[in-house]
C-alpha cells in the first residue's frame, strides 16, 4: 500500500496527490497557471505536428483550388477546375490502376505468401535456423528503396543485366526482354522488385504472431492425428487472423503511397505507363510547374490514406472490444 490510497482518492495518475505534496509554490497549485504549466508537456508536439504536418495538408486543399506559378508567384482561384481536369486525365486513372495493382499483388505476396513462409520457418525445430531465415528475408527491408530500385534497374537492363544473364545461362535467351522499357511490363517489373524487398518484413511479423499461439494446441492436434496442412488451416491461420487483417490494411495503405521505387526505376515511364499517384503529383508539380493540379492529385492520395487509416483504427478498436 502506498500512501496514495490513504491520503487521497487515488486517481489514475495520482494527480490528487500532487496538489497535496508538490513542492511548488502555493499559487501554482490550482487553476489556470497550473494548467498552463502542465500544457508544456503537450505543446511541443502540438506545434511541430500542427505546423509541419496538419497545416500543409489543410493548405493543400486550398492550393488545389488554384493555379499557381512558382516563378512569378501568381495565384489564381479556379474553384474545382483542377478536379474536373483530374477526372478527365487518363494518366490519373492509369496511376490509380497501377496503385490498385500494387495493392492487390502486394497483398498476395506480402500477406499470403509471407504467411506461408512464416509458417514454414516456425515449423523448423532449431531455433537458430528460425532466427536465421527470418533475418535473411528481412535484409532488403532495411535497405533504402532507392538502393534496391537502382539495383533492380541494373538487374532488369536488357543484355547486360543480371536477369538476362540468368536467362542466357538457362538457355532461355528468347525470354530476355526490356522489362522496364515496355509499357506493358514496366509497372509489373517495379511491383516485382517491391515484393522482393517487402515480403521479409511481413514474414517477420507473422513469425511473431505464430509464436504467440500456445504450443499445446499443436500437440493436441498431433495426438488427434491432424496432419501439418490441417494444423495450418485449423490452428495457425485462424489464430493469426488479427495480424493478417492488420497486414492487409497496412499493405494496401503502403501501396497507395508508393513513390521511390517508381521514381528511381522508370520515373513513371515509358509513356506514363508506370505512373502512380505519387509520381504523377511530382511530375505535375515539380516538372510541369503546375502546383494547383499537383495539390488536387495530393487530395486523392489523402483520401486513399485517410480511408485506410480509419479502417486501421476501426480494426484495432474492434479487436479491443473482442479481446
Amino acid at each position: 500500500m502506498t500512501m496514495a490510497s490513504v491520503t487521497a482518492t487515488p486517481t489514475r495518475n495520482g494527480a490528487a496527490l500532487r496538489g497535496a505534496v508538490s513542492n511548488r509554490s502555493r499559487w501554482l497549485r490550482h487553476g489556470l497557471l497550473q494548467q498552463l504549466a502542465a500544457l508544456r508537456w503537450g505543446i511541443v508536439a502540438l506545434i511541430i505536428v500542427g505546423w509541419f504536418v496538419y497545416y500543409p495538408i489543410v493548405d493543400n486543399l486550398f492550393v488545389s483550388t488554384t493555379t499557381q506559378d512558382i516563378f512569378t508567384g501568381e495565384v489564381d482561384y479556379v474553384g474545382l477546375d483542377n478536379y474536373r481536369r483530374l477526372l478527365d486525365d487518363p494518366v490519373v486513372w492509369r496511376a490509380l490502376t497501377n496503385n490498385g495493382l500494387y495493392a492487390v499483388l502486394s497483398v498476395i505476396f506480402q500477406v499470403f505468401a509471407a504467411f506461408v513462409l512464416a509458417a514454414i520457418i516456425e515449423g523448423l525445430r532449431s531455433r537458430a535456423w528460425r532466427n536465421f531465415w527470418r533475418a535473411v528475408y528481412f535484409i532488403p527491408s532495411a535497405i533504402s528503396t532507392t538502393v534496391t530500385g537502382l539495383l533492380f534497374y541494373f538487374i532488369y537492363q536488357p543484355d547486360i543485366g543480371l536477369l538476362d544473364a540468368l536467362l542466357h545461362l538457362l538457355g532461355l535467351q528468347n525470354l530476355s526482354y526490356t522489362w522496364l522499357g515496355d509499357e506493358r511490363t514496366a509497372i509489373y517489373a517495379i511491383i516485382a522488385m517491391s515484393q522482393w524487398q517487402g515480403f521479409g518484413y511481413s514474414t517477420l511479423l507473422f513469425t511473431i504472431a505464430i509464436q504467440k499461439i500456445p504450443r499445446e494446441l499443436y500437440d493436441a492436434a498431433t495426438v488427434d492425428g491432424a496432419g501439418p496442412l490441417r494444423q495450418l488451416f485449423c490452428i495457425t491461420f485462424p489464430l493469426t487472423r488479427e495480424m493478417t487483417g492488420m497486414m492487409i490494411i497496412v499493405t494496401i495503405a503502403g501501396a497507395f503511397q508508393v513513390f521511390n521505387e517508381v521514381m528511381v526505376m522508370t520515373g513513371g515511364g515509358p509513356n506514363n505507363s508506370s505512373q502512380v499517384l505519387g509520381t504523377w503529383l511530382y511530375e505535375q508539380g515539380f516538372n510541369q510547374n503546375d502546383m494547383g493540379y499537383a495539390a488536387a492529385i495530393g487530395v486523392v492520395i489523402f483520401l486513399a490514406t485517410l480511408t485506410t487509416g480509419l479502417l486501421q483504427l476501426w480494426y484495432t478498436k474492434r479487436r479491443r472490444v473482442e479481446a
Binding site: 495450418l232 521511390n260 485517410l306
Partner: protein, 286 residues
C-alpha cells in the same frame, strides 16, 4: 512453432512427410538465394571493372581492388554520407526526445485536454508526406530552409513524432505507477520524475524507437529529393540518384556507392535485431 512441425523423435515413415519437408526446405533456400544474391551481386559489382560487370556477371571480381569504392567516395559519397549521418542523428534525438516528453505528458500528468491532444498527435500517423509536399515547398522557401539540413531534420521530426509518441505512450500506459507516485510523495517535480524515473524505465522502447527512426531517416527519399539540391546537403539516397545521372555508365562506381549506403543499416539491423523487432511488432500489433 507451427503447422508444419513434424513430431520430434517420430521416425519419418510417411514418405509424403519426407518429400513435403524436402520441398519446404528447398523453398526456404530458394527464397533465401533470391533475396541475398542480388545484394551480393551489388557488393561484388563494386569490386569489378565496368567491362567485367557486363561480360561476366556471375564471376567473382578479377582482382579485389577498392578503386571503385574510393572513386565513389570522392565523387560525393563522402558528402552524402555526412549529410545522412547528420540528419539521421539530429532528427533521431529530436524525435525521440519530443515523443518521450509528449508521451509522459499524455500518460502521467494532469494536462488539460488530453484526449484531444492524443487524437491530434497520433492522428498525424495517418497523414502521408506526399500530400503535404506542395505547400511544404512554399513553406520551406519562405522560412529560408530550402536546401538545408534543417529542412530535413524538421520534417523527419514532425512526420515521425506521431508514430514514435504512439509507441512510447503505449509502453508508458502499461508501466506500473508505483515508482512515480512514490517519487511524487517524496516531492519530486514532474520534470525530475520524467528524467530520473520514466526515461530509464522506458529504456527498451526508446532504443526500439531510436532504431526505427534511424531506419526511416537513413532511407527517406521524397523529402530529401525535393528539399535538397546540392552535393553538400543531399543525403545518400538522393546522392545516389544524382551520381547515377552523372556517372550512370560507370556501373561499378554506382554499385560501390550503393553498397556503401546500404551497409551501415544492414549492420545496425543485425546488431539490434531484438529491439528492432519489438518496435515493429508494437507498431503494428497494438
Amino acid at each position: 512453432m507451427s503447422a508444419v512441425v513434424i513430431p520430434a523423435g517420430a521416425p519419418l515413415r510417411n514418405p509424403w512427410l519426407v518429400i513435403g519437408k524436402g520441398v519446404l526446405m528447398a523453398l526456404l533456400v530458394a527464397a533465401g538465394i533470391l533475396v541475398v544474391y542480388p545484394l551480393v551481386w551489388m557488393a561484388l559489382g563494386g569490386f569489378k571493372s565496368n567491362s567485367q560487370i557486363f561480360s561476366d556477371p556471375f564471376a567473382l571480381p578479377d582482382r579485389w581492388s577498392f578503386d571503385n569504392y574510393v572513386a565513389a567516395w570522392n565523387q560525393g559519397v563522402r558528402n552524402f554520407l555526412f549529410s545522412s549521418l547528420l540528419v539521421t542523428v539530429v532528427s533521431t534525438i529530436t524525435t525521440v526526445f519530443i515523443s518521450a516528453w509528449t508521451a509522459y505528458g499524455l500518460t502521467r500528468t494532469q494536462m488539460f485536454g488530453k484526449p484531444v491532444i492524443v487524437g491530434f498527435v497520433l492522428g498525424g500517423m495517418m497523414l502521408s508526406p506526399t500530400v503535404a509536399l506542395v505547400p511544404l515547398v512554399q513553406m520551406m522557401q519562405s522560412l529560408g530552409l530550402y536546401n538545408t539540413h534543417w529542412a530535413l531534420i524538421i520534417l523527419y521530426t514532425a512526420f515521425r513524432v506521431p508514430f514514435t509518441t504512439f509507441l512510447i505512450r503505449a509502453y508508458m500506459l502499461d508501466l506500473p505507477r508505483d515508482l512515480d507516485e512514490a517519487a511524487m510523495i517524496d516531492g519530486a517535480s514532474e520534470g525530475q520524475i520524467f528524467r530520473k524515473i520514466m526515461l530509464p524505465l522506458c529504456r527498451s522502447i526508446i532504443v526500439s524507437c531510436i532504431i526505427l527512426h534511424i531506419l526511416f531517416a537513413w532511407n527517406e527519399y521524397i523529402f530529401a529529393m525535393i528539399f535538397t539540391n546540392q552535393i553538400d546537403v543531399q543525403t545518400l539516397p538522393v546522392g545516389l540518384t544524382s551520381l547515377m545521372a552523372k556517372h550512370g555508365t560507370n556501373f561499378a562506381e554506382v554499385f560501390a556507392a550503393m553498397t556503401i549506403s546500404a551497409l551501415p543499416i544492414v549492420v545496425i539491423f543485425f546488431f539490434t535485431q531484438r529491439y528492432f523487432i519489438r518496435g515493429l511488432t508494437e507498431g503494428i500489433g497494438k
